[in-house]
Symmetry: C2
Subunit: 126 residues, 2 copies
């Protein structure tokens, strides 16, 4: 499928960090938009995570190593490995990818889509 | 891990199309550089594939639908679905992602890395 990213409802996972997460069977993409200075604090999950910076600067820590990545730079975070990310040079956009699919984000995306549809229906009934 | 893409040996999969494929446990990234007009002809595989355009223009066909994608535009190609791609506006760079890992590309990457190491050793022995 071709992803029309504007049609995927955003989820705010940390202050100033919005993700849109289209997904398939094995893969979930995550289009991450972060305001300057916004932080995804240390966390870990059993899902392997890869990614590439699309614009801005991403200060990324994987385990005990920190680097500041520019557009086109990539990473692979092994399962269960603590990591942290911060937008370090203006608004920063990243494409992350998870495998397996993160069921928590899938559920939140479906819920946000339903709310959006219900809102549109209520609007029509007026 | 942080990917130093220059340290990953390229594989030429079609004329004018070079990929570099760092990988983990569930995910393989594929940094694809295509010369203007280069084509990845119709093919399919059981691995699910996602991707995002980093620069240039990608004319992508998934099944029977064709669209020309710009930087930041994304796609998810279900397993076993025929697809084709062409660089349609100058040199085009894409980040693809596969899950599960493509063992054929992993083997070719390891082989290319070994050849590169052997070459470096032969150089040192001179």
């Amino acid at each position: 499928m071709f992803v029309d990213i504007e049609s995927v409802p955003p989820i705010e996972i940390f202050p100033g960090v919005r993700i849109r997460t289209p997904y398939g069977k094995n893969l979930m993409l995550s289009y991450v938009e972060s305001e300057d200075g916004a932080v995804v604090s240390f966390h870990h999950h059993p899902h392997e995570q890869g990614g590439v910076v699309l614009s801005g600067r991403l200060e990324l820590t994987i385990g005990s190593e920190t680097r500041t990545l520019r557009p086109g730079e990539m990473y692979i975070i092994p399962p269960d490995t603590p990591h942290r990310a911060a937008a370090a040079g203006g608004r920063t956009v990243v494409m992350d990818v998870f495998s397996p699919v993160r069921e928590d984000y899938a559920a939140r995306t479906e819920q946000a889509a339903k709310l959006s549809r219900d809102g549109a229906s209520a609007e029509q009934r007026r």
